[in-house]
């Protein structure tokens, strides 16, 4: 995918500290741990050039099949891995602590305990290295990284992950939420279904569902719940779980396809679930695009890696004379680099999080953030 050059000349920004004739690079360290992935990223911004990924590494807490992850286990995982990971990021990229301009961490939204363990690490480093802290909204991190990597200038954004389902468009220095899931997130729906079918969580339940869905061919009826630009997934999960139980037990009778000609497989159920929920996502995205008059769409978040979702979105965008932008797993799945990137964008505008304010929060709406680095 092409990178968008950072157009610094038309958008003059306050340069930190040194005034100079030659443009100065800035470097940020990003720490992300709002869910079961611990991500460390180092990014360099040089005016007039694309952002440069110096390091982007991740370690994932994987739970056994049939189980989700508990906040306390994830927090423990993050605490044990954060120091070695940061060390590795620094040494692999050859970055010196002295070159780092700020330390960015995920303020929220996410799971409380994991967020806290990473915030504690961020504070400690800030004090130790005497570097400013920047608290970052996780969703804004996804959006900004997606824009940077794909070059999508002003897209409607579909943000889909285990914790979030939002349709977002930019207006007047905010990322405004046009539509969202009214109950559980789409990724949560997929993850929980994977547990019902005892599908492996390694590398990720959604990934394994995607591979199985490729082999499915029978589409079963599931509820389809779109309400304007919002949607809901809990009813669908309940229905598909019921079908899964029928499939696993063969009771009260074996699960057959709609025509009654074939026994339904696990792959068919994965296929059915994906086709249904992705259609809903594409539909609400299209509605938002029609509403704001945009033909670009950017998909971010862990579920955004799914190639079938990208394909469906592409077909929709093509019909509207536009195109779809998506990133691969390095940037779609939670990562530290996006936190570093979005944090640095804010920091260059003079934003800083004081030690007293360096809390984290499970609830943090995308539209609460002032996006003053965009026009």
């Amino acid at each position: 995918m092409s990178k968008r050059p950072q157009d610094e000349t038309t958008n003059p920004r306050k340069q930190p500290r040194l005034a100079m004739s030659t443009p100065k690079s800035t470097i940020a360290l990003g720490l992300e741990g709002s869910a079961n992935k611990l991500g460390i990223g180092l990014i360099r911004h040089t005016p007039g050039q694309p952002a440069e990924v110096l390091s982007n590494i991740r370690h994932t807490f994987v739970s056994p099949p049939g189980e989700g992850f508990l906040p306390k286990d994830v927090a423990l995982h993050h605490r044990s891995w954060i120091v070695p990971l940061i060390k590795r990021a620094l040494s692999e990229s050859g970055t010196k602590v002295a070159d780092i301009d700020c330390i960015c961490y995920t303020k929220g939204p996410g799971m409380g305990a994991p967020l806290q363990s990473v915030a504690v690490a961020a504070r400690a480093l800030s004090l130790l290295w005497k570097k400013p802290l920047v608290g970052v909204n996780h969703c804004v991190g996804h959006i900004e990284m997606g824009r940077e990597i794909t070059g999508a200038d002003n897209p409607v954004v579909l943000y889909v992950s285990g914790g979030n389902t939002q349709v977002i468009a930019y207006a007047a220095q905010r990322y405004r939420i046009f539509g969202e899931a009214l109950d559980i997130a789409v990724g949560n729906c997929l993850d929980r279904f994977a547990r019902t079918l005892q599908i492996s969580n390694d590398p990720a339940p959604g990934y394994n569902i995607e591979q199985m869905a490729k082999l499915g061919k029978n589409l079963l009826d599931l509820p389809y719940t779109v309400k304007g630009m919002d949607c809901s997934f809990s009813g669908i999960l309940a229905s598909v779980d019921q079908l899964a139980n029928q499939l696993l037990t063969g009771k009260p009778k074996p699960l057959m396809n709609v025509e009654g000609t074939e026994v339904v497989t696990r792959e068919d159920l994965c296929f059915t679930l994906q086709e249904t929920v992705f259609s809903m996502l594409v539909e609400i995205t299209e509605r938002a695009m029609a509403h704001v008059g945009s033909s670009q769409v950017l998909i971010v978040g862990g579920v955004g890696c799914n190639e079938r979702l990208q394909e469906m979105m592409g077909l929709m965008a093509r019909d509207r004379g536009g195109s779809v932008y998506a990133t691969d797993e390095r940037f779609c799945i939670d990562n530290g680099i996006m936190i570093a990137h979005a944090g640095l964008l804010a920091h260059k505008q003079g934003f800083e999080t004081t030690l007293e304010e360096s809390t984290c929060t499970q609830r943090f709406r995308t539209d609460e953030v002032l996006v003053n680095w965009r026009d």
Binding site: N164, E275, S279, R287, A290, Q362, R363, F364
Partner: protein
């Protein structure tokens, strides 16, 4: 095979449907055609199921409204497999289009009358547990004339400004105050975003609404909540 193709003029391209001005039955009968085209991204089975379902539910809702005396277009013909609904052509313009001109020309009484009628129509909808689902000022028409006489005839008659609700494609039956309050909220937002000088006018709509049915007070109370959170809830990570 040569067909007597009715000419179609595309007048609106939404996310879900294409809307045409055309004729139905005879060249003298103007009609609106709402076409939900195939969505290539959707599995064909799911696509057909959704298209049929939506055509039918919109048709049922429109027919129910007419039965209750709520002014909406009459449905003439439905081909749910193709995703087509032919309905009555409403000659007139949307509130969105007429309001600014009316205000600019100082037609205050007409404006007040219109606001009142609008409040009453929405009240009647909600009183009967019907929610519009996309109640913007573009979806409320004002007509000053209509076809008189029978369908196959073609004379127009002048009528007092009449408010007609269009595009119930996202509509549904609901007894929930929340859904009704969101209808009002969407209308309010549409008002304020397109007619900044009309802030006090929307109050007239609400006054007429509130006085029109028993459940209105509860909906108004809910509207205050919806305004507070901007319809959206706080989000878990």
């Amino acid at each position: 095979m040569a067909a007597t193709e009715a000419p179609r003029e595309l007048i609106k391209q939404g996310a879900e449907a294409l809307v045409y001005k055309t004729t139905y039955l005879l060249p003298t009968i103007p009609a609106l055609l709402k076409h939900r085209p195939r969505k290539p991204y959707r599995h064909p089975t799911l696509d057909l199921r959704l298209t049929k379902h939506r055509c039918l539910s919109e048709t049922r809702l429109l027919t129910r409204c007419r039965g209750l005396g709520i002014p909406v277009p009459a449905v003439y013909f439905v081909d749910e497999a193709r995703g087509e609904i032919y309905m009555e052509w409403i000659s007139g313009r949307s509130i969105r289009e007429v309001l600014d001109a009316m205000i600019a020309e100082g037609r205050k009484e007409e404006v007040n009358d219109l606001m009142k009628k609008m409040g009453q129509v929405v009240a009647k909808l909600h009183q009967n547990d019907i929610v519009h689902g996309d109640l913007t000022t573009s979806n409320v028409m004002v007509r000053g004339e209509r076809k008189s006489g029978l369908l196959a005839g073609a004379t127009m008659e002048k009528v007092d400004a009449e408010v007609v609700l269009i595009d119930l494609g996202l509509g549904m039956m609901s007894t929930q105050e929340e859904d009704k309050a969101v209808d009002l909220y969407v209308l309010e937002r549409a008002f304020l975003s397109t007619h900044p000088q009309a802030e006090d006018l929307f109050q007239d709509v609400l006054t007429a609404y509130e006085g029109s049915f028993k459940g209105a007070k509860a909906v108004m109370k809910r509207l205050a909540d919806v305004r507070m959170r901007g319809r959206k809830r706080s989000m878990l990570g």
